[in-house]
Each structure stands twice: as structure tokens, then as C-alpha cells.
């Protein structure tokens, strides 16, 4: 089968891969490149577990074709920590016990980071609506919201 040859940047590194037209960015990240931090919960954009940044926009990797990222920039959960240094959001998620099973956590972190970059001082309601595209079945969201609000305080202070 004829495959598309795609040259792109993922987490700051140059990547080249081959993919079929039907394959999604999520398929490519996981099955092709084995960047498995982005999770598939629904493959229909309803759960947010595959949230990634595409040219600085928060998107669901399951709703982007692999071939579409030619020449573009993708950021995934794998680049969120800076070396050994966790991102403040990652640290706050741990401190607030904002994860139970952890499957939705990468998606929440990527989405929350996008929020705080756009709005460093969100209200609880703004956090809740921004994160409405990320489903969590374990926590009831309480501790996630607190972790994001607390990380925002820290990030504004630094």
C-alpha cells in the first residue's frame, strides 16, 4: 500500500514516519512511534485522553490524521517534564492525589497546561469548562480542579 511519508517535529525533535491515509496521529504516536503517553479512550474526541498540542493548539490526536502533521509541531505528555524536573502541574497532581487510575492523567495535564498558558489565573468555573473535554471516571474531578488551581498559583508566583 502506498504510504505517506511525513516529516514533522514531535516534542522538539525531528521525526519522519510512514503512515496510511486512514491512520490517525494517535495511531502514529502510539503504534508507530511508541509514544504511548497519549491514551485512546474513545477514538471519537469525546474523552480527551489523547490530548496533544498541534502547532500550539490543544487537539485530540484521535481526530487528526497522521498525514496532516507534515511540517507541523506536535507536543505530547512525554515532553511535559523538563528533564528530571516535573512540570508544576505534574507535581501538583501528585500532591493533591488528583489521579486514581491514571489513564486520563496525561490528557488532563496536557489540557491544563494549555489552559494555564492562555489564562494564568482561571476561576474554578473556567477550569471546569476548559477541562470538560477530558473525562475522568475515578476522581469526581474535585482534586484535579484543585491541583490545576494550585499549580496556577505556583506558576504565577514564579
Amino acid at each position: 500500500m502506498a504510504k505517506h511519508h511525513v516529516t514533522t517535529t514531535i516534542n522538539g525533535d525531528p521525526y519522519e514516519f510512514l503512515c496510511e491515509a486512514e491512520e490517525t496521529l494517535l495511531d502514529v504516536l502510539r503504534d508507530g512511534l511508541q509514544l504511548t503517553g497519549s491514551k485512546e479512550g474513545c477514538a471519537s474526541g469525546d474523552c480527551g485522553a489523547c490530548s496533544v498540542m498541534l502547532d500550539g493548539r490543544l487537539v485530540c490526536a484521535c481526530l487528526v490524521l497522521g498525514a496532516e502533521v507534515e511540517g507541523r509541531e506536535v507536543e505530547t505528555i512525554e515532553s511535559m517534564a523538563d528533564g528530571e524536573q516535573l512540570h508544576p502541574l505534574q507535581q501538583k497532581f501528585l500532591e493533591h492525589a488528583a489521579l486514581q487510575c491514571g489513564i486520563c492523567t496525561p490528557g488532563f495535564l496536557v489540557a491544563a497546561k494549555a489552559l494555564l498558558e492562555k489564562n494564568p489565573d482561571p476561576t474554578e468555573t473556567e477550569v471546569r469548562y476548559w477541562l470538560a473535554g477530558n473525562l475522568c471516571r475515578c476522581t469526581g474531578y474535585d482534586k484535579i480542579i484543585r491541583a490545576v488551581m494550585d499549580a496556577a498559583v505556583d506558576m504565577r508566583g514564579s
Partner: protein, 289 residues
């Protein structure tokens, strides 16, 4: 079952030529938030997918004659963030902001929302009441089509083979006018509209409504303009009586189906409620101008 082709033309002409030449089913890819779901569910098996995002202008918002021309592949998020559009047609922006999650809005395009032809598409009633016009480009050149004439039924459009919606024009808004869009969903986010209501209205200097458009989503095979709803407002001060008449007209115009998202009677009732609530917001906006 042939292999799906994916193409990224860099001009409208090339895109039209690709679409026109294809033998099997073709699909246009803008944000992909509907298309990729349909592909994954194997609801569609197109021969050709044409990604139009590399075509100049497809992702641009430009000022034109006091209004705005929005490239058809522009994602909702770009529209949400556009101060000019938000000031001119806040109802359209509200509707665009309701399309799915932040993640979805990062991709879902205004043209895709229109051409996917879902009766529940949020941006469509809002654009219809804003008198938006789509620029359609095809093998025979370009034509201007009122937004309400694009969708003809669920998943069906009036576009001919090879035709593409290139942009949508939101015209200048008359003085003393306002618009608003409201929808009902069971949750606060992430659902498809069970009912949607877009309203725009224009007042004269003493606050009497001189013009109005009322459009309902998700209560018929496509978004419907409610003439009687507009009539209920025109010539009034949009007082409580007029709003009740509007609600009654909206409910009367609704011809919904029972499905997993809502019952006929629920949709019929809520169509009136939302029309009334949206009209109040539009009225406040008109008065504020």
C-alpha cells in the same frame, strides 16, 4: 474496498479538480472532527479525502465591507478568539464556542460544521440569523449561497460534485441590533444539541423591533427559519407578551423526532423556552448598541 487517498491541494482550483475527477465518494477534510469519527466507525469509506487547510485563505478571518469573511477551514477556537467577530456577531461566536470541547474547537471548522449538515450543528442557526452567505467554488466557478440553503437534510447538502465552501461571509450588523444563540444539552458540555435557537433582532430608535430572524436547530431535518417567530417580535417592544408569542411560534414550528437525545414533546417545548431566552439576550445586546 479501495485504499483511501489523501491529498493536500494548495489552491481551490486544484481541490475542485481533484474532487471533480474522483470516481467514488469524496470527502473534504478541514477540522476532521466529524469526518474522522465517521471514518473510524466505518460509516463512510471515501476514495478521496481532500485536506483543504493548505489552500490560501481557508484559515483566515478578514474584514470586508464592515463584516468578516471567515475561511471555511477556520477552527472555532480562532473565531472564539477573534475580538472583531465577537463584537460584531456575539451569537455566532457563542455558537462556535459550544461546538464540543476545547480540543474539538481547536480543529472543528465553521465550514465543516455547515457542510457536515447535521440538523444539530450549533453554528448554523447562529449564522442563519446573522444572514451569513457561503462562497461556494466549483468546476463552474464561484457562487454565493445563503447559509440556510447549504444543508438540505441530515448529512445532505445542495453542493454539487466538486463544489467546496471556500468561505463564509458575516455581513455588517445594522445599528441597534443584537444576536444570541442558546442550546439545550443534558450535560453542561460535550453533548450534541437537543435543541438550538438563534435569534437576531433590530430595534428602531424607540426600541420597537423592526427586523428579526429566528432559527431553530435539532428540531427538524435541518436548521429552520421560523417566520412566525420573527413576526411575533417585529413591531413589538419585545415585551413579555411578544416573547411568549415567540415561544409559541417556535414550539409550533418545531417538527422534531424522538431519539436517544430527546423526545418530540421535550424538544418542542424547549424550542420555545430557548427562543424566548435567546431573544432576551439579543434584545439586551441590541439595546446596548
Amino acid at each position: 474496498m479501495d485504499e483511501m487517498r489523501y491529498e493536500t491541494p494548495e489552491s481551490l482550483e486544484d481541490a475542485v479538480a481533484l474532487l471533480a475527477a474522483a470516481k467514488g465518494e469524496t470527502k473534504i477534510l478541514a477540522g476532521g472532527t466529524d469526518l474522522l469519527v465517521q471514518l473510524r466507525a466505518e460509516m463512510i469509506e471515501p476514495e478521496l479525502v481532500v485536506d483543504v487547510k493548505r489552500i490560501p485563505g481557508m484559515l483566515d478571518i478578514t474584514e470586508e465591507d464592515g463584516g468578516f469573511r471567515i475561511g471555511a477551514a477556520t477552527p472555532s477556537a480562532e473565531i472564539d478568539e477573534h475580538a472583531g467577530v465577537k463584537k460584531l456577531w456575539p451569537g455566532v461566536v457563542e455558537a462556535a464556542e459550544l461546538i464540543g470541547s476545547v480540543q474539538i474547537q481547536g480543529r472543528a471548522s465553521i465550514g465543516g460544521n455547515l457542510c457536515n449538515a447535521s440538523p444539530a450543528a450549533d453554528s448554523v442557526p447562529a449564522m442563519i440569523v446573522a444572514a451569513a452567505v457561503a462562497t461556494v467554488v466549483g468546476p463552474d466557478g464561484s457562487r454565493e449561497v445563503p447559509v440556510e440553503d447549504i444543508a438540505t437534510g441530515p448529512g445532505e447538502t445542495s453542493l454539487a460534485k466538486g463544489e467546496i465552501v471556500a468561505s463564509i461571509f458575516l455581513p455588517a450588523r445594522p445599528a441597534h441590533s443584537g444576536d444570541a444563540y442558546l442550546r439545550f444539552i443534558p450535560r453542561t458540555e460535550m453533548d450534541i444539541a437537543v435543541v438550538g435557537a438563534g435569534i437576531s433582532l433590530t430595534l428602531d430608535d424607540d426600541g420597537t423591533c423592526t427586523d428579526a430572524k429566528v432559527c431553530l436547530g435539532a428540531v427538524a431535518e435541518r436548521a429552520i427559519l421560523v417566520e412566525d417567530g420573527a413576526k411575533a417580535l417585529i413591531g413589538t417592544k419585545v415585551d413579555d407578551d411578544a416573547l411568549e408569542n415567540l415561544a409559541a411560534a417556535a414550539s409550533a414550528a418545531a417538527r422534531p423526532i424522538d431519539d436517544k437525545r430527546g423526545t418530540k414533546e421535550f424538544r418542542t417545548h424547549v424550542a420555545g423556552v430557548l427562543a424566548r431566552r435567546a431573544a432576551k439576550i439579543a434584545l439586551d445586546r441590541a439595546k446596548g448598541n
